[in-house]
Symmetry: C2
C-alpha cells in the first residue's frame, strides 16, 4: 500500500472531463488550452494531450513546461516579463500575450517572430472573492481602455479576456459576453483570435455544453476570430483526491481526527478562501472535524460525517484535490509533501513522484 | 549584481537579535531553541548556533534538519506522529513532546530512551487571529485537562505550553504566566522542564528583556524546572528582506508597480492574514501600490511612498521577510522562486541557493 499522504489522479475521471472538452471543441470550433497555473502535473498530461490544443502559462517556467511536457500550441502570458526572460520566452511560445500596452511597447521589437496579443480587462467578473476578482478596483490585470487598445491594434493579432471564475451559469456567460461585444466589438472585429480565458465550469454536471458551444461559434463567426478557451479547473475538476491517514483522535468538545496532511501545505486555497474541503459521501452517524498536522491552529479540512467511528490508521480521501493544490504545495512545518500517484485506466497505481527529506532540506539551502 | 528575486539575510542584523537572545539566556537561565517552523534556512545557522541551545520542530523533517544542520539540543514536537516515523524521530531527538495523551500512550514504549513531554493547552492566547489561536474553540493543540495530564505525569518529565503570538506586552506575559501557575502549579512542581514556547517578542525595540528574564528565573525557581523558550520570529525579526525589481508601471486609478515576485508564492502570510508588507522608509511624494506578478488579482504587497518616481528596473526591498516566508514559499504560477542570499559580516554576499526551471518541473513529477 502506498504511504500517505498522496495526491491520487484518476485517469478515467480525467478522461471524462476530456470527453466534454472534445465535445465543446468540436461543436464550437474553439481551441482549448490547459491553464498550467491551475494544474501542471505533467505525468498526467498523456491523458489530456489528445483532447486539448496546448497550454497557456503565467510565467517563463510554466511556458517552458507547457512547451516541453505538453507540446502543441503554447501561449505565453505573464503579468510582467523581465527583460532577461523575453528572448527565451519567444523561443517557447506560439503567441505571447502582454498584460499592458507598456510591456507590449517595451518588447515589441523582440517579439516580431511570433503572434502577439494583449490582455483586455472588460471590467466584469464572476468571482465572488475580491482576492480573485480581476475587475477589482485598480486591478493591474489587463488594459481597461478601448482607446489604448485601439492604438496598438497594428502590433497585435488577438486579445485575451479572462473574467470568469468557476462560472456555472450559462445565462450569465452569454449576457457578459454580449456586454463585451457591445463595448469592444470594434476591436474584436479587427483581430484574428480571441481568448476568453478560463473559469467557465463547462464540465460540471448538467452544464449545457451545446448552448455554450453555439454561443462561442456565433461569437467567432460574428467577429471572424479563432476563439480560445483556457480551462484550468474545468479540465481537471473532480479528477483527483488527497489520500490521508488518521494519526490521532481527540475529543475536545468535538470529535477531532488528525490526519497526516495540512491544509496550508497541501490544499492552500481552502485556507486562503476559508473554505471547507469535501469528503464523500459525508453521511452517517459519526461526525468529526478533520484536522491537519501542522502547528497552525486553523489547519482544519472541515467537519464531515462517517458511517463508522474513525480509528487511528483509517484512510480518508479529500475530494476534488487536483486544481490549485499541487501547483502551490509547500514545505510548511516540514510536513511530508504528498506523493503524486496516477490511477491508470487499467486500475494500476503509478507513483509519479515521491518527496523526501532531501527535497525539504534543499528547499532551504 | 545578483538577479532578483532573492531573500537577503543580513548576518549583522541576525547577530543583533542573537545578542538579545544571549542576554536573556544569561539573565534568566532559560534555554532558547530555534523554532524551525518559522525559520529553517540552514545556511544562516552558523550565525545563530553559538547563541541558541538548539532547535525545536514540528515534524520529522524539521527534526532531522535541526539535528543535522544546527545540532546541540533537539526537541521533537508534532501534532501527530505516524507509527512509521517514531523510531527515526527518537534517533534524532533529545526530547519528544506529544500533543495528546493518546499519542503518548501509543508511543510510550518506543520512546523510553529519551525525555518525554506533553503539550499543555492553557486555554489562553495572545493571538489576534482566530487562525493562529491555539486556544480557539475545539483546538487540537495540546491537552487542556489538568486531570488528564496528572494521570500521565509518571511518563513525562516536562510540558510545552505554546500560547504567545508576537506578544510584545510584558505585563500581559506576566499576568498570563501567573494564571497558568494558578491553574497548573501542582503539575509544574512535579516536572523537570517547562517549555514556554515561542511568540514572545523580546527582541523588539524597547522590550524590557531584564524584566522578562527575572520573571522566567522566578518561575524556574518556584517550580524547580529548566525553562525553555522557542523563539521563531523573535530570533530572526528584521534580519532579512525580499529583494525585487520593478517590471512594469501602470496607472489604473492608482499608480501601480509590478515586481518580479508574488505575495502568495514568496510571502504567503501576508495573503493568509490579509496584511500589508513593509517597505522602508515608506516616505516621499510618490505613492505606489506594489503588486506581484502572479495571476492572482489580490497579489498586492501594499501601498508605499517613495522619494522619487519609480522606473522599470528599480530595485525595491520588502522588509522583515525572514519569518514564515522561506519555509512556505511555493511554485504558484511558476514564478521564479527567490534565491537565498546571505550578507556576511564582512559585507560580502553569498548566494546559498538558487532555484531554476529544473526545481519547478521536479516539484510536479
Amino acid at each position: 500500500m502506498i504511504q500517505t499522504p498522496y495526491y491520487l489522479i484518476d485517469a478515467d475521471r480525467l478522461r471524462q472531463n476530456m470527453a466534454v472538452v472534445d465535445r465543446l471543441r468540436q461543436a464550437s470550433g474553439a481551441k482549448a488550452l490547459l491553464a498550467l497555473k491551475c494544474f501542471a502535473t505533467w505525468p498526467a498530461f498523456e491523458h489530456m494531450r489528445d483532447h486539448m490544443d496546448g497550454t497557456t502559462s503565467s510565467s517563463l517556467y510554466e511556458l517552458r513546461l507547457g512547451r516541453e511536457k505538453f507540446g502543441k500550441e503554447t501561449h505565453a502570458y505573464s503579468v510582467a516579463w523581465p527583460d532577461h526572460e523575453i528572448d527565451e520566452a519567444v523561443g517557447y511560445a506560439d503567441k505571447i500575450i502582454f498584460n499592458s500596452t507598456g510591456q507590449l511597447a517595451r518588447f515589441r521589437d523582440r517579439t516580431g517572430g511570433i503572434a502577439r496579443g494583449l490582455r483586455l480587462n472588460p471590467g466584469l467578473s464572476t468571482s465572488g472573492f475580491d482576492l480573485a476578482d480581476p475587475a477589482r478596483p485598480f486591478s493591474r490585470l489587463g488594459e481597461w481602455s478601448a482607446e489604448k487598445i485601439e492604438a496598438v491594434l497594428p502590433d497585435i493579432s488577438g486579445v485575451m479576456i479572462h473574467y470568469n471564475c468557476e462560472n456555472a451559469d450559462v445565462d450569465l456567460f452569454e449576457r457578459q459576453l454580449s456586454e463585451i461585444e457591445g463595448r469592444f466589438g470594434a476591436i474584436l472585429d479587427r483581430l484574428d483570435w480571441v481568448s476568453l480565458g478560463g473559469g467557465i465550469h463547462f464540465t460540471g454536471e448538467g452544464y449545457p455544453v451545446d448552448r455554450l458551444a453555439a454561443r462561442l461559434k456565433a461569437f467567432a463567426a460574428a467577429h471572424g476570430v479563432q476563439v480560445y478557451l483556457e480551462p484550468g479547473e474545468a479540465a481537471i475538476t473532480r479528477s483527483a483526491t488527497l489520500e490521508v491517514t488518521v494519526l490521532d483522535l481527540l475529543d475536545n468538545g468535538k470529535q477531532l481526527a488528525i490526519v497526516d496532511s495540512s491544509v496550508e501545505a497541501h490544499m492552500l486555497d481552502l485556507l486562503i478562501y476559508r473554505q471547507s474541503a469535501k469528503v464523500e459521501p459525508d453521511a452517517g452517524d459519526h461526525s468529526y472535524m478533520v484536522c491537519g498536522k501542522s502547528c497552525l491552529a486553523g489547519d482544519i479540512f472541515g467537519e464531515f460525517r462517517f458511517a463508522e467511528p474513525l480509528k487511528v490508521g483509517d484512510r480518508l480521501s479529500i475530494a476534488d484535490a487536483a486544481g490549485y493544490t499541487m501547483v502551490k504545495k509547500n514545505w510548511f512545518n516540514g510536513v511530508k509533501m504528498p506523493s503524486i500517484v496516477i490511477r491508470e485506466p487499467d486500475g494500476s497505481l503509478r507513483v509519479a513522484r515521491e518527496f523526501g527529506y532531501g527535497d525539504y532540506a534543499s528547499s532551504l539551502g
